[in-house]
């Protein structure tokens, strides 16, 4: 946090090197994150570049209440939701957000540790079979078909577990996301 404030104040002072370092570290993961919402890599890249440009130009106005990384992820998320609003999509049930968060599980850089821990814990609370299915789907990235073969169950069983599991997860996560 202190470090982040230092980086931000460097950016405020026009330190392009500090800014570029921030870009180097986070660009890739942010584009992947945006892509979970938009399903469109070039658009996701535009969004993330836009967020970085905004950060540079408005560094003096930004008040950090969290880590710089969390700030970036939130800004990207908001920008993505705006993009979706333009094509009349609303993520009322935060499914896209949950998906993005779940897919972060296998990623190294957890943007929102608090949410992630909550997701991890919620996952652990799932019944064993359901947990296995979520694990295979989101960590090992198997397809529904492959999971069905692996666990010798029908594809429909896998689907219904994923469906019910999400409802449970969402209820658990409501506590956090309000």
């Amino acid at each position: 946090m202190l470090k982040d404030k230092t980086i931000l104040s460097k950016i405020r002072a026009g330190d392009e090197r500090a800014y570029r370092e921030l870009f180097n570290i986070h660009y890739r993961i942010l584009v992947q994150y945006a892509d979970r919402f938009l399903n469109d890599i070039p658009l996701a890249e535009d969004v993330v570049q836009g967020v970085f440009i905004y950060l540079w130009e408005n560094a003096s106005k930004i008040e950090l209440t969290q880590s710089l990384k969390s700030y970036l992820f939130k800004a990207v998320k908001n920008s993505c939701l705006n993009q979706l609003r333009a094509i009349q999509i609303y993520d009322k049930h935060q499914i896209l957000y949950l998906e993005a968060a779940l897919l972060q599980l296998k990623e190294e850089e957890h943007h929102d540790t608090e949410l992630l821990e909550e997701v991890q814990q919620a996952l652990m609370k799932l019944p064993e079979k359901m947990y296995q299915i979520f694990f295979l789907r989101f960590k090992e990235e198997l397809s529904i078909k492959e999971i069905a073969q692996n666990l010798s169950v029908s594809e429909n069983t896998v689907k219904s577990h994923l469906f019910k599991g999400r409802i449970i997860l969402r209820k658990q996560l409501k506590l956090l996301t309000g």
Binding site: V31, D91, E141
Partner: protein, 399 residues
């Protein structure tokens, strides 16, 4: 129905054409109620953009997931820096105006204090120490450790032991019984950032050693799981990859991939330069663009990949010209001053300024020590009587 009513209906229709993503999700994962289906139909009909998004969602849920995403960092950075520098120029003009006042003040100061005028120092006073082992280690959670100041640091987490001693950062997988087994096993990455005027040695858990040169970044998994060993590089590094025929070691530098099974080679790919050079000492490597054909490279040869037109070229080279840095020497063979100064600038953390373009093209050959003060090198270069050096702060001028 009156015209007004029809209009009203149309408007309502448009308003209703927004959709909750939940309906899309249900469409692909369970069943839709009739009402949901209707909403979806209306939404799909109302715009081709909606249909395009729908197709992409379909792809997401049907495909067996994620293709590895390798961003084109240079293009992305260029876009950003173009945009921020445009704005900056305006800011700059304002500050120029303000600057005039300062300069006027300074001018007066110098008139009054002529003896204190700033003058470049002669070569005998140019002294810059060579680079040293220093780097910043960034963990997956964003926390950082500066490795220059600390020696003999031991960081231990659930899976690995990270030992920093003797200027080598060493990753070791823990014995099975020492490991705290956690239910999910995620691939975690660390990043080593080596600044200008720095270098660092790294040993990965598979036994691969990497020497990372100045102004370079390497991102690597803490432990190698999965079917391949993937790392990402910006800048220059010298690799000795532990052989493992079952798990190729893949280095990505932007769009360019180098795939090896066990061998020794050097990769140089600085963002500001148009070429990615892979120089092979022994073994076997292939180079490719993401998704493109693999180009084989044999020992004693170098692959040059041009980033702008994505063309590969292979040539026979004297490998020590490209790898000598990792053994503490600079081996320049018929190299232009311009190329040479780029290398020296990174290692000594200085800037070079040419007073005319002809000087850039002057060629030199020589075998010099890398861990010596820059003065030794400059003196040798100036003995040729073709150039002289002077310096002011950390800028060295070539005349």
């Amino acid at each position: 129905m009156s015209f007004r009513c029809a209009l009203l209906l149309r408007t309502t229709c448009e308003v209703n054409s927004k959709i909750d993503y939940h309906i899309l999700w249900k469409y692909f994962h369970s069943d839709l109620s009739e009402q949901d289906q209707q909403e979806l139909d209306v939404w799909l009909k109302s715009s081709s953009k909606h249909r395009a998004y729908f197709e992409n969602v379909k792809k997401k849920y049907s495909e067996n997931n994620l293709v590895q995403y390798n961003p084109d960092m240079e293009t992305a950075w260029r876009n950003i820096s173009r945009s921020i520098n445009k704005k900056r120029n305006i800011r700059w003009q304002i500050s120029v105006a303000a600057g005039f006042l300062v300069i006027a003040g300074l001018a007066l100061f110098f008139v009054l204090n002529q003896s204190r005028q700033i003058q470049p120092v002669p070569i005998s006073d140019i002294s810059f120490d060579p680079g040293i082992s220093k780097a910043t280690l960034v963990f997956e959670n964003g926390s950082q450790v500066e490795l220059e100041a600390q020696t003999d640091t031991v960081i231990s987490n659930d899976e690995v032991l990270i030992n920093n001693s003797n200027k080598v950062l060493n990753y070791q997988t823990k014995e099975k019984d020492q490991k705290i087994t956690k239910k999910p096993k995620e691939i975690r990455y660390n990043t080593l950032i080596v600044p200008r005027g720095g270098e660092y040695d790294l040993v990965l858990t598979d036994g691969t050693t990497v020497k990372i040169n100045s102004e370079s970044i390497l991102r690597y998994p803490v432990e190698f799981t999965g079917n391949s060993r993937n790392v990402e590089l910006i800048g220059e590094a010298f690799f000795k990859v532990k052989s493992d025929a079952a798990k190729p070691f893949i280095i990505s530098t932007g769009k360019h991939l180098t795939k090896v099974y066990g061998t020794t080679f050097n990769i140089k790919s600085y963002p500001e330069e148009n070429e990615t050079c892979t120089t092979l000492i022994e073994g076997h490597v292939t180079n490719s663009v993401v998704g493109g054909a693999e180009h084989e490279l044999i020992p004693g040869h170098q692959s040059v990949f041009r980033k702008d037109n994505e063309v590969f070229e292979t040539k026979k080279v004297n490998v020590s010209e490209f790898t000598s840095w990792s053994e503490g020497r600079f081996y320049f063979r018929n190299m232009s001053l311009e190329e040479m100064t780029k290398i020296l600038a990174r290692w000594y953390d200085v800037e070079f300024q040419f007073n005319n373009d002809e000087t850039r093209e002057i060629k030199f050959s020589g075998n010099l020590k890398r861990y010596e003060n820059i003065q030794t090198i400059l003196v040798k270069l100036s003995k040729t009587n073709e150039i002289t050096f002077s310096a002011y702060e950390n800028t060295i001028f070539l005349n």
